[in-house]
Every structure is written in C-alpha cells, then in structure tokens.
Subunit: 376 residues, 2 copies
Amino acid sequence: MDAKKILAAYKRQGARVETKARIKMKGKKDFSLWYTPGVGVAAAHLAKHPEDARKMSIKKNSVAVVSDGSAVLGLGSVGPYGALPVMEGKALIFKEKGGVDAWPLVLDTHDPDEIVRIVKAIAPNFGGINLEDIAAPACFDIERRLIEMLDIPVMHDDQHGTAIVVLAGLINAAKIVKKSFKKLKVVINGAGAAGTAVAKLLLAAGVKDVTLLDRTGTIHAGRTDLNTHKKELVLLTNPRRIMGGLAEAMYGADAFVGVSGKGLLKEEQVACMAPRSIVFAMANPDPEILPDAARRAGALVIATGRSDYPNQINNALVFPGIFRGALDKGVARITESTKLRAARALAALVSKPTAAKFIPDLLDPRVAKAVARAVH
Amino acid sequence: MDAKKILAAYKRQGARVETKARIKMKGKKDFSLWYTPGVGVAAAHLAKHPEDARKMSIKKNSVAVVSDGSAVLGLGSVGPYGALPVMEGKALIFKEKGGVDAWPLVLDTHDPDEIVRIVKAIAPNFGGINLEDIAAPACFDIERRLIEMLDIPVMHDDQHGTAIVVLAGLINAAKIVKKSFKKLKVVINGAGAAGTAVAKLLLAAGVKDVTLLDRTGTIHAGRTDLNTHKKELVLLTNPRRIMGGLAEAMYGADAFVGVSGKGLLKEEQVACMAPRSIVFAMANPDPEILPDAARRAGALVIATGRSDYPNQINNALVFPGIFRGALDKGVARITESTKLRAARALAALVSKPTAAKFIPDLLDPRVAKAVARAVH
C-alpha cells in the first residue's frame, strides 16, 4: 500500500483505541454505587490504603506508553505529535495481544528531569510504565531513575523489548546454522538505546564476542569521543579490538544485528562474513539491507523488523506479554533473569527452527502467554 | 448499601474503565497498515501537520480527567490514590453519557506550577482537559494559565460544571416558586472553587443579589483576611453588605446553594428565609441539610447532589455534554456564553418544572445531547 493510501486509511479510522465502560450505568442504583455517594467510600479507603489501588481501580490492568518523540522509528526526533500514532499503535497491540489497558502519553518536552518528574507524578494511575522511542543517552538515565523511584515496572521497550526478541532470534538462528550460540561473533550496527541493550543481554546470555558500531565506527578503547554509556561498552565488548567501520567489523562475523538505518549494510559486507551467516536487518520502516540482497550475498538466516517480510523480529512479540505477566503477578521490576527467560520462552515456541521460520509469528496466540509466564 | 458492602463491590469490580481496540488485528496486513511499516507514514505526517492529530489519532475523542486530589468530594485533600476512584467514575460517566474517551490522570503533586507543566506536556494526547477536585485558590490560577496556553478546551468541572447545573436548577426553581429569577436573593455557602464559579455565572445570568460565605462568614469589604480571589468577589457580590454568619445571610433569602459540608444548614435558618424558599444542599456525599428537614422548615423546592434523593443537582449532567460538544465542533474555549446556553438547555429539558421534578434525571438520554448542542 502506498503512503497516500495509508494516510487516507488513518484519516478515515480516526482513533485506533477507545475507552470502554466495564459497568453499564442503567439505573439510579448504579449511580449511587459507582458514582456519588458510593465512590466516596472507595476514595476514603484508597486515601488510607493506596496499595489497594491495584485491586480496585484502573491501576489493576493499565500501562502508560510514554514517549517524548525524540527517536521515533527511523524518523528521528519528530516530537509529541509525530510520536502519537506509534504510541497509539502500541496501545492497540497491548490490548489485542496482552489484554492490557495501555494509554498513549506523548510528552511535549525533551528535558530528562521533567520527563522523570511527569512520569513519577502520573504513576499512581498505572500498573506499569512502558517508555518508548526516547533517544539515547537520555533514555538510560530516565529509565534508571524511574525504576529506582517507582514501585511499578518501568521498561524502555526500544532497549529491552528489542534485546529480548533479538536474543530469541539468535538462539534459534544459531541452531539453524549449526554454530554454538555462545561462540557467535556478533556485530551490532547502532550503539543507541537498542544496540546497547541488545549487547548487554547477549553478554548476559553467554555470548563472548559482541562488537558495536556507532556512526563513527566500532566502539573501542582508542576512541576519544565516547560518552559515559559508550565508555561502559568498551569494557564489555569488542574483545578483538576491531578498529574501523562496518567492513572491518563484518569480516568473519557470524551474525549482524542492525538497529541503525536504511540501506547501511552492503552486499559485499555480508559476503565477507563467516560461512552460514545470520543477518537481522531491523531498521524500521526500511531495513539495513533487503532480504533478497542479503540472501544473494550469502546470508543463510535473515530477518527484518517489518510485518511484510518473513521472520519479523519485532518488540510487539515482547511488550504485551512482559506487562501482562508483571500486572498479573504484581512484579515491580523487569530483571535481567526475566529478560533471559522471556527470550528463551519465545525461542522455544518454534520447535524446529528453519531459515524460513525461526521466530514466532505476531499472530501466534501463544506468544504473549509464553512471555507472561516468564515474568516472575 | 453500607460502606463495607460498597468497598467489597469495588474490590470485586477492579477497574471500571478499560481500553478497547477499534481495529481487530487479525492478519499480517493489519500489522503492516496499523503498526509497522504503515504507522511510519502517519508519524511522518503528524510531525509536519500536528493539527491533523484531531482527525487521525486518539486526540479526536479523548479527554484527560486531571486531579491532584486536593479537594475530593467532602473528604478534602486525599492525594492521588484517594482521588483515583472519583476520576475513574468520571471517566465511566464520560463514556456512558457522552461517548467521550476519558482517561483518569491523578497527579502525585500539589505544586500549581508543576501541575500546569504536566498538563501542558500531556496535552497533545487529548482533545480536552477536565480539571477535577483541585482546591481553591490554586484551581483558579491553574485553569486560567492552561486555558491561555493550550489550544484545546480546559474546564475545571468543580467550578463550571457545578455553576451550570446550579443555574439550570435555579432557573426552573424560580418558575415553581413564582419569583423573578433575576430578583432572587441567593446565599451561597462555600466560597471555594464551586461557590465562586456559581456566583459568577448567576451574576452573568442576571441575578443581582448573591451573597457568599466562607468558614469565617459572609464575604464583605470589611474583611481583612480575604485572598485575591475573595477580594474580587467583594466587588461583585453581597450588595446589601451583610456581615455575619449563615443566620444573618439566610434572613429573607430566596435561595440557598450549599457547596460546603455536611449538616452546616440548620432548620431554623431555613425557617427564616423568604416565603416559598429554595434549598440546594449539594455537599457530597452528605448534604448541608437533609431534604426532609428542609421541607419541615418550610423550603418549597429542594435538591441535593446525591443519586439517592430526587432532583439531583450534579455535574454529571454537564461535563459529558460539554466535552462531547467541544470535541465534535473543535471548540477550543468553554466561554461564558456557552455556559449560559448549556444551563438554559438543561433547564428547558423539564418542560413543566414542579417541586417533585425540576432538573433532568442523570438517566435522561437527552441530557448530554442538549448540553452538547449548546457548545459552539
């Protein structure tokens, strides 16, 4: 469908999510109980016992999808209105896939301190906070501070949703190419929110050789232009101390994970990877390399982030289940172990991975349940 | 129903409002169009044309119900969790009565500057802002600043919702007691958010003699303890310069409007009103005087704010219609003329007002439509 038709469809549709009354207000008795005077009893009770909000209010099943619109898809910083359709799409999938009542909250500010203050202030309404499309490095600090501050789960989906689904994909891809998962040489193009989180989760899962690249090239100790977050990566990644660009990094690599931008990966770079290579070209909406080109250049296992190619590696496989599980079990933190369990659970849904299908489908009804079970 | 049973019902119920997907995500095509890559087209468009958010996003039909929990019902300052059930009840009625997608947003702060900053930051998601249960005098300043700042309607319901419904009630009550509406001597007990707005709207509607009381007594020029907002009232109200308490103010009054607290009006004070008197005892959940006692003392037209007495003067008659109309017509300001029109439209729904019924019922399906038509 071309852009014009898509836009027309959105204009026809209007909102993609609405509210629904869970009580029909039919008679005076309904108003007396669920409005005034009855609501006064609930208000007085929650003023004294705020912990019961999880039982007897919207907080029981609700998640805020919060973004400042600073890193939306491949579009960059598009502000609150540019971010709104994406957050609304997330809210739609939260409900359809996880039964979670998610509400979009784009913020008309990029100030990290203000974002933290706002999310803290609105937290009482929600059982969880899904941060979305907030640019690195601000996203790391915002997430860390909110996790420390709040007693509900806070997850920056671009980081951890992506990391979980990439890990799931790599676990199964390693089986297909018959290589040891932990011995994979992995190149991650993009050292922002997603790339950093993918690297850390792969390391936590036992992968030893992970190399990241930002726009300048590989992250290594010789770089003098690295911010605090990238300096931390120097200590954890690039064990062979590769200096240079994508050509140097891709030489002999087993897997490419693209969380960067359209067309950044060349066929010749895929061609010089190790035999039976893995290419996850996940830039949205346009991948780093098109699946056909990657295949031509010799890649054996190929995935993108899009719904219109096979093997979609997309956070939508993760966030509905993560928050479904956290809400059901009253879990306040999404820990490293939860992420590892969720990735393994996702991978296990494809019992015999092949190049044609190694990651579960977004339409697979088992996905959210399997991920939710991994949260505890 | 006693408090124990009410609380049990709320605990059984959990959330009273949820989200609903307006699109069924059945196939790959749905994900391609309504999620990635399709959503990228909508995002890029809204980044350039934010004004289209009203057509093609949740903003089209959504209202935030914002409260800092500083003046909830008769309970006072109960904080965000105490306020949550009330805001959720409003969201329920917004949907059931006005078809408006309202979301509760209680705020964990009482700082007016921060409340303004937060509402400004979250405004892109919403087509309107319903402020609720924010204490005077902070509520006046917060509302004024937000109205100036935002291009969507902002209404503090405790002020203007109450004022509109009281005006509607008094218009019809005057007919029943066969007095000229504009010549009514009106006593308003409570000079906070509701009392102030009621006074101003009655004056705008042509009533000449309005006297307000706060906890100290009547508002008059001799008082040295008045804040800026109450000083403004000195210039507008109490033309007979009544000094003293409720006993002094009620002597010879035609109508009492109570927006104060439980049991504050005595039978003997009703007894010394003018003949064929009007008593609106609207404190929630417990009125200033019970209807039976007011009748015994000689009141002819009696109303409360509760669902379990006849003639319920409640904002729920107003807010769903006001925002329904504003959203449908893209109205950015709820003006004084709109409020007057809305009150008259409400009053007109009872064609032959009697003491037994002079205000439309909350269950009357014509209410929200009539109020919505008045907004333009």
